[in-house]
């Protein structure tokens, strides 16, 4: 195997990230070194998708150049080599979130993982229900609980599951600052709650939910906990065992990996008892014309040829993150998040969604510019080479709750510098003037 490049340099994992080290990290991300619309690119859209380091791209290329073959079938040497790296990748990514290899199912992305869970629960809810599947079965009178801050991917699969089973969907509201109403949570979690699905970190407000506390409350009433770790797995040390969640999902492309690969964690005894969603090749033991027996997890949920090179490359991404240090990445991004929010708060006519400066949040900030639509804000920033997300960020109910239909979001990652944030803030300060919006004087 070729030695993968790694130019970030030496460091001590106990010391905080510095501007100097981040500048070295940026050398590993060639896409960042370009001009956009005549300005150096400032990429602040990692909440949508992250950029990829050279080592990830090389891992995928190396797989195709050296080992490409079908996994878990065939006796030839390449098939064995491909299976080895595919399963090594599973072990690496599972360890990254504190899980065992047999507890990590490869999925296309977090959306696919959430749908897999919801459809498996749906499959457990129809026909003659075997004893081991009863804990997943839903019927009229049961409740599925979500929160008002969910991404559509952690809302619509549950709407559909409730529609199919007759169960009732309920949600925990958020406060004006975007934080979860914990008093309402305590009331809404009851003996009828079978599933509680919620996000670790809001992709709109950057609010970090108290996962361990919510999980403990859910388990006290016998509910299964599904964690959307899409915005946390890439950005902070994640330990699904310590948090005690029953399921968790994440997307590889948001954590330096390629598109088309993601993960579903499930406690081993749950995954082995849960009926499959997609069925077909690679997930069976014995098949007759009448019926089939299924492999244990994770294979029972991996029908058909998987995203092999992408899984291998995701492991390279995880290695990159661990070499840099997740706690250091989290601290760096938390500081960038505070810099974003305090900077935005200082600009007239800007309303930041979510917690005010000084209160912990992830390294992102969504905001409204009085008198200027988010689409126009994004266009203005793009002309300055700054890439941000505009729109409802797949969270329409949360935007409606906060009293707007669209916002602009800047989201940082380990390769963003304080200078990136400052360039963004300088540009935002020019938006209202450009669009000729009167700056209201405070009475």
């Amino acid at each position: 195997m070729t030695v993968l490049s790694r130019q970030a340099g030496t460091h001590t994992l106990n010391e905080p990230l510095t501007d100097g080290e981040v500048l070295r990290i940026r050398n590993d991300f060639p896409i960042l070194d370009q001009d956009v619309n005549g300005h150096p690119l400032v990429y602040l859209d990692s909440g949508a998708t992250s950029q990829k380091p050279i080592s990830v791209m090389e891992a995928e290329q190396e797989f195709y150049e050296q080992r490409n073959s079908a996994v878990h079938r065939g006796a030839h040497t390449l098939a064995v080599a491909a299976t080895d790296v595919f399963e090594d990748a599973r072990a690496t990514v599972a360890a990254f979130i504190g899980a065992e290899g047999n507890e990590l199912v490869w999925t296309q992305n977090a959306t696919a993982g959430l749908n897999l869970i919801a459809y498996s629960f749906g499959n457990a809810s129809v026909g003659a229900i075997p004893e081991q599947e009863k804990k997943f079965a839903l019927t009229a009178g049961d409740e599925v609980l979500v929160t008002e801050m969910e991404h559509h991917a952690n809302l619509i699969p549950w709407q559909e599951l409730c529609r199919r089973t007759g169960a009732t969907l309920r949600f925990i509201p958020v406060h004006d600052d975007g934080t979860l109403d914990m008093e309402a949570a305590a009331t809404l979690l009851n003996e009828r709650t079978k599933v509680f699905a919620f996000t670790h970190v809001s992709n709109v407000t950057g609010v970090i939910n108290p996962v361990a506390e919510l999980t403990s409350m859910a388990h006290a009433v016998g509910a299964l906990v599904v964690l959307d770790a899409c915005q946390s797995a890439p950005h902070l040390p994640l330990d699904v065992k310590a948090l005690d969640v029953d399921f968790a999902v994440f997307s590889g492309h948001k954590m330096l990996g390629p598109t088309g690969i993601g993960g579903l964690y499930g406690r081993a005894e749950l995954l082995d008892a849960m009926p499959p969603f997609l069925t077909g090749g690679s997930m069976i033991t014995t098949v007759t014309m009448d019926q089939a027996q299924y492999l244990p997890a994770p294979q029972r949920f991996e029908a058909g040829t998987q995203s092999i090179s992408q899984a291998v490359a995701l492991a390279a991404a995880v290695n990159y993150l661990e070499e840099t240090g997740m706690a250091r990445i989290h601290d760096w991004e938390a500081a960038l998040g505070q810099r974003l929010v305090s900077g935005l708060e200082a600009i007239e006519g800007i309303r930041v969604l979510g917690p005010a400066s000084g209160i912990p949040r992830a390294g992102l900030a969504s905001f409204e510019v009085a008198g200027v639509h988010a689409h126009d804000v994004g266009q203005y920033l793009d002309a300055a080479g700054i890439a941000v997300r505009v729109g409802h960020h797949c969270a329409q109910p949360l935007h409606r709750r906060l009293g707007l239909s669209a916002s602009t979001r800047a989201s940082a990652y380990l390769y963003n510098t304080r200078a990136d944030v400052d360039a963004f803030l300088t540009a935002v300060a020019g938006v209202r003037g450009y669009f000729g919006v009167e700056v209201e004087t405070t009475p």
Partner: protein, 157 residues
């Protein structure tokens, strides 16, 4: 003129604030019990949340049916709001077929990826929106009101 300035020409920024025709009342949004000479359509751009409800009123003139009124309510970016405002100024008094032709002309311009020159004789202030055609992600914003008007007309004719 910078690329951004050619997208957001002064006339567009002014029209986005003027919002000519934006006087559809809240109780008219559902569009219930419309007489046969009136059409109404709601359009939503799910990508960015731009939204418009647009009503067209027509009357029988001597030489055929003409547009006698246009009223809308909406929320969205400067491009979508300016486009609705400009459309409102253009269509009153025009024959129904003229309006259909105008919409077709504007759609062709928007889909041209910056390759067509706008005909100001035909499009009036809407010619100022020609810069939008270079930004494929924004074409839907500019088309929103025009698609609504097209649908409203189809309900009448």
């Amino acid at each position: 003129m910078s690329a951004l300035d050619s997208l957001y020409q002064q006339i567009i920024l002014e029209q986005s604030k003027a919002r000519h025709g934006a006087d559809l009342a809240n109780d008219q949004l559902q569009g219930q019990h419309l007489p046969p000479n009136v059409g109404q359509c709601h359009q939503l751009n799910p990508v960015c949340g731009d939204e418009i409800t647009l009503r067209l009123e027509t009357e029988d003139g001597g030489a055929g049916r003409t547009v006698s009124g246009i009223h809308w309510a909406g929320d969205g970016c400067a491009i979508s709001m300016a486009s609705a405002s400009i459309l409102s100024e253009l269509v009153v008094g025009l024959g129904v077929e003229e309006v259909t032709g105008l919409i077709g002309n504007f759609r062709t311009l928007m889909r041209s990826r910056g390759k067509l020159e706008a005909d100001e004789e035909i499009l009036g202030d809407a010619a100022a929106l020609s810069g939008v055609s270079k930004y494929p992600a924004r074409v839907k914003c500019a088309m929103l009101a025009w698609v609504a008007a097209e649908d409203a007309l189809n309900q009448i004719t």
